[in-house]
């Protein structure tokens, strides 16, 4: 009895203490209390969205002019240019929705980081030239007061494409287009190639095209961080969540040539929070799909691809996640400081990484051997069978090398 009373007494004491802890922490946590009080006051001062019933600070705003799905380098650049080109300050309200703030699976952080002008379409060349001038002046474009300047770690070493007899004619016409657009590319014969890069074995190479300026590789993570910083300082809102639904309305309308079309408009975007069923419908005027490898899924949510096959509505967005392997190896007698990013006619490529004789490379698999993107395991046999033989044939020094690291970035590829 006495013991029971004592127990009750104890538990009542504990109960009281538990009440105390439920009240919101011990009084020793003064700083925590102060910051909580500040947050509460800020939430009901004018300017913030305030809900009297519960805390909504983690939710995106209820309205936004533009919603950008995906916060990688493309999504952030769109946000940057939207804000840069607005006519009045604060004229356009932009929200960037990113599912994963650590960017662990985004193509941006995991990419090899190369930039080149050696394309076959003039539009691609012009886009690349513009990007290069943006990157060159990045500290003027993305300057934020009181922040250190960005160092993109750009290696202006250029791209070297090697073509066999079959591809030589196409390469020549491509280079002609590239030079017309203003890219600084030169064609090299096997002998010139041997003089310039003595570590290349030119057997089977009919022609090579080498980018002299404005081509190379850089650190895309630094670009991403710089864009984030600048875009936040320009007033773009960020939200961590996933887009699950679009609410749209359709109208029957007539075009100028009296043809009947169905015009579909997106009114709302449902943004679902992480690890909960909570979602916020964001009213918007424009939705920009910058979801990278998952753009196809977002497009399906919007109804692109749901229609009769053969029509525009029935054509799915041809983007799907593809798995690519990137290997890092060490080769003590390998090519020196002048090595460009070499792309062999077989599709295997490599570039120098750092000063310690390390090289980064891989190979784009053909259609039949596409690996399954769902499984993120690395395939070491792929290196032994498909990547190493063509590279070792092209650069004899690579016969003896040691693989250090294998990465599996999931790139998005247009099919």
């Amino acid at each position: 009895m006495l013991r029971r009373a004592l127990q009750l007494g104890w538990s009542r004491g504990l109960f009281i203490r538990r009440l105390g802890t439920r009240r919101g922490g011990s009084s020793l946590d003064w700083d925590g209390n102060i910051s909580e009080i500040k947050k509460k006051i800020q939430s009901f001062l004018p300017g913030g969205t305030w809900n009297p019933l519960y805390d909504t600070s983690h939710l995106p705003p209820e309205q936004s002019d533009v919603v950008i799905v995906g916060g990688g380098v493309l999504g952030l650049s769109v946000a940057y240019w939207l804000k840069k080109l607005e006519k009045i300050q604060g004229g356009i309200r932009v929200l960037v929705v990113e599912r994963d703030h650590t960017y662990s699976q985004a193509s941006t952080g995991l990419s090899v980081g190369g930039i080149r002008q050696q394309f076959s379409l003039p539009e691609n060349i012009q886009l690349s030239l513009f990007s290069v001038s943006f990157l060159r002046n990045i500290n003027e474009h993305l300057a934020v007061v009181d922040a250190p300047p960005l160092d993109l770690q750009f290696n202006p070493s250029g791209y070297l494409f090697l073509a066999s007899e079959k591809g030589a004619a196409i390469m020549e016409s491509n280079v002609k287009v590239q030079r017309q657009e203003g890219a600084k590319v030169c064609l090299m014969s096997p002998e010139q190639l041997r003089n310039k890069f003595p570590w290349i074995n030119t057997e089977g190479v009919a022609l090579a095209s080498y980018g002299l300026e404005d081509e190379g590789w850089f650190d895309p993570w630094c670009l991403l961080q710089g864009l984030r910083r600048k875009v936040q300082s320009m007033g773009v809102l960020f939200c961590q969540g996933e887009v699950t639904r679009f609410t749209s309305s359709s109208d029957r309308m007539k075009t100028a040539s009296e043809k009947e079309v169905i015009l579909k408009r997106i009114h709302e975007v449902h943004v679902k929070m992480d690890n909960s069923l909570e979602y916020q419908p964001v009213e918007c005027a424009i939705v920009i799909n910058a979801a990278g490898a998952w753009s196809g899924q977002i497009a399906e949510l919007a109804g692109i691809g749901k229609g009769l096959p053969g029509t525009l509505q029935g054509t799915k967005l041809p983007v799907e996640p593809r798995k690519r392997y990137v290997y890092l190896w060490h080769c003590p007698q390998g090519p020196g400081l002048e090595a460009p990013l070499v792309i062999d006619s077989s599709g295997a490529y490599f570039r120098r990484e750092g000063l310690g004789n390390n090289y980064l490379g891989g190979r784009s698999p053909t259609e039949e051997e596409e690996p399954d993107p769902g499984n993120l395991e690395v395939d070491h046999d792929f290196f032994q069978d498909k990547v190493w033989p063509p590279l070792a044939q092209r650069v004899p020094a690579f016969e003896t090398l040691k693989v250090c690291l294998v990465e599996c970035p999931s790139a998005s590829a247009g099919t």
Binding site: T102, Y103, S104, G109, R136, E140, A143, V145, D146, A147, P148, P149, D151, Q153, F154, N155, P156, S157, G158, L212, E213, D214, G216, D219, W221, C222, Q225, L328, H330, P332, G336, L337, E338, E353, G354, L355, G356, N357, N358, C404, L405, E407
Partner: protein, 302 residues
Amino acid sequence: MAAPRTVGDRSSWNLQNRSLLAASAFRTSLGDQASKGPRLQAQFLLSSLPNKSLRLVVPIWNRSTRGIRGLGGAVAPEGNQKKRTLLQFLSDHFYDVMALREFLLRMQMLKVHQKNRAFPHIEEKHGPYIAGAFFILKQGGAVKFRDKEWVRPNERGHFSLEFLQFQAVPVEAVDASGCNINYEGLNSLLALKELRSLSLRCCPHLDDWCLSRLHSLANSLEELSLAGCPRISERGLACLHHLQNLRRLDISDLPAVSNPGLTQILVEEMLPNCEVVGTNWAEGLKLGPEEQPQDTASPVPA
């Protein structure tokens, strides 16, 4: 071990030391690569690496500015600590102060662009050599035409215009030390097709992008000096391999180069016919136990 004097000795000596330096560089770079699991951490490492060089870039960038115009940020001179926090406080709380600072920052950048504009009317009238020479002299550098004396501006920035008669005479040497030359400014410089000696010491705005343009001078350039440029790193030095006629290259005192000794060896291998003047090659090498300096006076070996 004294550095070899002739080019011939270099190859075997380089091989010995390159492996040592490469091993240490490999370990540090692998250390960054190996922590790719926690991606943020690794990238923080990678992005924090150039911070040391950034500290040197920023003060040179705003050498002529004070207070409100300064970029602040990474480097705060000790005397301005209080001013900087007050300014930062004001910028954080008032849009006007922030807008004013952004405006002044943009003005600073515009000034550099202004200095690097080309002179098309001079080029039409007198030719590319004169236009290039005029550009360099306007920036504060010196120019030497073939078989003539050096033309330099005086302390006030004025220079004699008698070189306007040397239309057909090629410019042989340019001394652009300390000039604010940048990527656009190089247009005027690269028009000097028969340039033999170029000195770009301590140019604050010269970076790796600019070095990639120097390949158009490959036929004639024999001497190049890049000492003391705060923005040049080993990545820019990699594109100097086009300059096959280069006989003398000075890459000493480059703060942004991460591994000066190893970089010098790699550049020497890249340009076999060139004499590369750089830092002490032993920088970055740790002495082995048998090479530790023996202090015979002390009872305990060092």
